[in-house]
Amino acid sequence: MSPVLFWFFTFLMLAFATLVVVNRNPVASALSLVVTFLSLAALFVGLNAYFIAVIQVLVYAGAVMVLFLFIIMLMDLKAERRRKFNLLAVGGGVLVSVGFVGELVLVLGRFKLGESPFPALRAEKIDDVREVGMTLFTTHNLPFQVIGVLILVATIGVVILSRRELK
């Protein structure tokens, strides 16, 4: 990926990620998050990981955020906008994020492996859908099945909980 494109999408992603937090209007926040997801997908494309990029758009931008937006639009937005600035929450947030950044700097400073370049990929173009599928269904088959069962249980739980609400 050309460095120009990399910096462009990185900047776009970070700028819109900031907007998600800063915006007072929840719809604007949700849409900013969509742009963040799309630029993240562009970065994945830059790494030749087309499959992950497409799944990122399909699942997060195309399904999860649509549902978010759907719920937000059914709420009363004015109450959200009138909410007062909570000084304690802002202070706590700043403290936590400064702590997190400090930790990152400490860890990454000692991470010697990160300085050596990643070995070149075997082929120019990899059929990543096939690779991901092969890995999932051969070496990691059991964890994959377990996750499937877990999601099934969660789905059934959601259905049962929402059923009870109706009565």
């Binding site: 969509v34 087309y50 499959f51 497409v54 758009v57 399909l58 399904a63 649509v66 639009m73 859908v129």
Partner: protein, 396 residues
């Protein structure tokens, strides 16, 4: 100087040429003439005449006679487009302006982006023209055959699903930012409808992926060129037992995929988001002039992209039996390349006629019927179909 040489000029130029060709020379004219065909075919079905008068007013340009080609009314789309551009663009006072302006663009863009992954032809080799032309300017312009697909990804099909799943934002935002009841109801209906039918559409395409063992659209087409179209497996001149057995799940997949496509593109019998009798015009009630036209264009472009996807998955893409692809080079290679492109868009046009035919034949569903059909029937059928296909593939 090295920097200029490192830029792949030919790639950029070829991609630009393909993009401009497919959007401005094929799809947008196709959209306007699909609207025209829609009006003529609906008139035919309802025993009316339809728009049969508008020609091209050549007398305005100093010619002796106006030009009105054989069917009459062929100038109608041009007149409509001019009218859309010149009408007053009225923005109601109660709308949420930024999102109200953003929505039409978001409705149009994804439909156009999906076209990037469609293989609309085999290869085109214009070297017999480009090499002599390059010599005139003292440069080497020959580059061999060019694939007729804007971006040949190995995740082409998933890419199309991903981008078309983003197209729901335009409709949702239009419904919400209009700040009025009917558009809002239309937007909500559209969201739940599109999310539900996306699942069916994705699942019903899986059998095709299993058979062709790739998710790249051009490799799916290449598989069909070698083994016969998936829905018409005799087109390669032979018919094996495996092909006959596989035809059953493929036919089921075709039916479920086409039904989901109708729901995804908000076409009748599933056009609940804009059903006139209930919601005035649904999510675009408050829009006028070109902003309304963008929703219209987006809907028809999505219809064309959907038909193109059906052609690629089930009807062999650009392939016609006994006609070679354009890789042989020279003048005849170029001719065959163009024949392939024409064959592709002819197939798309036939499917569009089916879209129109269905619209003017079937009545609209009720909303709960639509949801029930999606979740209780199509979803299960598509899921069972995957197991059926996998079983047949494993045992033959």
């Amino acid at each position: 100087m090295d920097f200029i040489h490192s830029i792949p000029w030919f790639l950029i130029f070829a991609s630009l040429a393909k993009t401009i060709f497919i959007i401005f020379l094929v799809v947008l004219p196709m959209v306007s003439y699909t609207v025209y065909a829609e009006r003529r075919v609906s008139a035919l079905i309802q025993d009316r005449v339809g728009p049969n008068r508008t020609g091209f007013p050549l007398t305005l340009l100093g010619f002796k006679k106006d030009f009105s080609p054989f069917l009459g009314g062929l100038g109608q789309p041009v007149a409509d487009a001019v009218k859309f551009l010149l009408k007053e663009d009225f923005t109601p006072g109660h709308v949420n302006k930024p999102y109200f302006w953003l929505a039409p663009a978001l409705a149009m863009m994804p439909a156009l982006i999906t076209l990037a992954a469609i293989p609309f032809g085999s290869v085109l080799d214009l070297d017999f023209l480009l090499i002599p032309l390059g010599h005139l300017f003292g440069a080497e312009w020959g580059h061999g055959p060019v694939k007729m697909i804007i971006s040949d990804m190995n995740v082409g099909l998933l890419f199309m699903f991903a981008i078309s799943s983003v197209s729901v934002y335009g409709i949702v935002l239009a419904g919400w930012s209009s700040n009025s009841k009917y558009p809002f109801l239309g937007g909500i209906r559209s969201t739940s409808q599109m999310i539900s039918y996306e699942l069916c559409m994705g699942l019903s395409a899986v059998p095709v992926l299993l058979v062709a063992s790739s998710s790249g659209l051009s490799s799916i087409v290449n598989y069909q060129v070698a083994h016969g179209w998936l829905l018409l497996p005799f087109t390669d001149g032979s018919l094996t037992l495996r092909e006959i057995l596989l035809w059953i799940p493929i036919a089921i997949a075709f039916v479920t995929f086409t039904i989901s496509m109708f729901a995804e593109t908000n076409r009748l019998p599933f056009d609940l988001p804009e059903s006139e009798t209930e919601l005035v015009a649904g999510y675009h009630t408050e829009y006028s002039s070109m902003k309304f036209a963008l929703f219209f264009l987006g809907e028809y472009t999505a219809m064309i992209a959907g038909s193109a996807l059906i052609v690629v998955l089930f009807f062999g893409g650009w392939h016609l039996p006994f006609i070679p692809d354009g890789s042989r080079g020279g003048f005849w290679g170029a001719i065959f390349g163009f024949v392939n492109i024409t064959a592709f868009f002819a197939k798309v046009a036939m499917l569009l006629v089916v879209f129109i035919w269905v619209r003017w034949t079937l009545p609209r569903f009720r909303y709960d019927q639509l949801m029930k059909l999606g979740w209780l029937y199509l979803f299960e059928i598509a899921l069972a179909n995957i197991f059926l296909t996998a079983g047949i593939l494993a045992f033959t």
